[in-house]
């Protein structure tokens, strides 16, 4: 079971209409090679789950600019004017989610939980359409799990079994997304032999990773 595949082979799995989680925070920790491959392949009608839509020339932002995104679940679009334009023009559906709630919903999806109660968003429009539950006299919103067909992950280092190590603030959403999708494709800047990553230093266990694509250093 060799998990290392060519970019082309990995891209075969990405189809029109899919729900795709993409790691990164303003492009930091986003697998750019996979993104570029998706653009070249020309998939469309995607639902993207990502912290933000980055910048027009960076990461998730490029998918938006290339009009491949039908729906996006994200916490911030302010750095990519094209997302706002498409939203106002009714071309792309934008669902804004508080960042902590977004992260927790993804974790919740991967962890097999049915939902969680958060104080975030109480008394704001984020409440709309959600159940409110009172615990010990404090109100919480019931937020539901998020899952995806595919998660695109950027790792600093991978071993051949898919154990991943991230670097600095490029970690962000990657570890939780790697647990919440049916198929997980990791773009790794460096691929090492099994055993070269200390089991105590693994940040995403290889059991979550289906395919590894060699990224640019």
């Amino acid at each position: 079971m060799d998990k290392i595949v060519s970019l082309e082979k990995a891209l075969e799995k990405i189809k029109d209409g899919m729900t795709i989680m993409i790691g990164g925070f303003l492009g930091v920790g986003t697998p750019e090679k996979l993104i570029d491959g998706m653009i070249e392949k020309g998939v469309k009608d995607l639902t993207i789950i990502a912290n933000d839509t980055a910048f027009p020339e960076v990461g998730v932002g490029k998918l938006v600019v290339n009009k491949m995104v039908k729906h996006v679940q994200t916490s911030h679009i302010g750095t990519n004017p094209e997302t706002g334009r498409q939203m106002n023009a009714g071309e792309t559906e934008v669902e804004l989610i508080p960042q902590g709630t977004l992260a927790e919903r993804i974790r919740c999806g991967g962890a097999g939980l049915g939902g969680f109660l958060t104080p975030t968003g109480i008394g704001t429009i984020v409440e709309e359409g959600k159940r409110k539950i009172k615990i010990r006299d404090k109100e919480y919103l019931l937020e539901l799990p998020l899952k995806a067909d595919v998660a695109l992950i950027k790792a600093h280092k991978a071993d051949k079994k898919g154990n991943l190590v991230y670097r600095k603030s490029a970690r962000n959403f990657n570890p939780i997304m790697a647990m919440a999708a049916d198929l997980v494709i990791a773009e790794a800047q460096e691929i090492v032999e099994v055993g070269e990553i200390d089991p105590d230093e693994v940040m995403t266990p290889g059991i979550f990773v289906d395919m590894i694509v060699r990224g640019d250093k």
Binding site: G27, D52, G78, T120, T124, N172
Partner: protein, 221 residues
């Protein structure tokens, strides 16, 4: 006062508010500048919601690391003793009350401590990012903003008209005119910039200000 002087005054005053050992998250824009004015004797640990504690100053030119930015996407450094973590943990820290102080900008604040700072319907919808979690989760929420809008309209209102970021979570408002505390009784003007009179501050504030007997001068170094 020109814009830069105003901002400098605001962030310098807020820096005085931070206590030795505090874990602090600074919002994008003016709040970020607070870090530049922390008194040398105090050890403040800055949290960055994109996944670390120990946020350090901007690196020297040429020393930038593309894997290390603040929540605004700008290159930064991490101090010795800092630590990285994922986004779920980052917000467990924020929501869980492990951040002592957050400093955020505002479009509007009102006398109940309601905050609006994430959207102007039909005009500007950047998204809330981490602001809703920070406002709800941090032990103390400090607003850093100019006292009025560009047009000179009050931003401290009886009731926010823009969509809220969080309900009744603001603790302190620092502007170039003074320092205002949100209390159960209403907004208390704790300190005033001696360049203004109480009447002038009230005139630029829609909400009614409570003026305590021990009103102090807003002093920075």
């Amino acid at each position: 006062m020109d814009k830069n002087k105003k901002r400098e005054l605001i962030v310098k005053r807020i820096a005085k508010e931070l206590k030795d050992g505090d874990i602090v998250n600074l919002g994008i824009g003016m709040p970020t500048m607070v870090a530049n004015y922390v008194n040398e004797g105090k050890e403040i640990i800055f949290q960055s919601e994109n996944g670390f504690v120990g946020l350090g100053p901007r690196p020297e030119k040429g020393q930038e690391d593309s894997d290390l930015t603040n929540a605004g996407g700008q290159p930064v450094t991490i101090i010795p003793g800092g630590a990285f973590f994922d986004s779920a943990t980052s917000f467990a820290i924020i929501r869980g009350g492990h951040v002592d102080v957050t400093v955020l900008g505002a479009l509007q604040v009102d006398e109940k401590g309601n905050l609006a700072n994430w959207m102007i319907p039909g005009k500007l919808v950047p998204g809330m990012g981490g602001a809703m979690d920070l406002t709800v989760g941090a032990k103390k929420v400090i607003i850093a903003m100019e006292h009025t809008s560009k047009k000179g309209d009050p931003k401290i209102l009886k009731k926010c008209t823009l969509p809220l970021t969080a309900k009744e979570e603001v603790d302190l408002i620092v502007t170039e005119m003074g320092v205002i505390e949100v209390t159960d009784k209403g907004l208390v003007l704790k300190e005033i910039n001696p360049a203004f009179t109480v009447e002038e501050v009230q005139k630029k504030t829609e909400a009614e200000l409570i003026i305590p007997d021990d009103l102090k001068e807003m002093v920075v170094d």
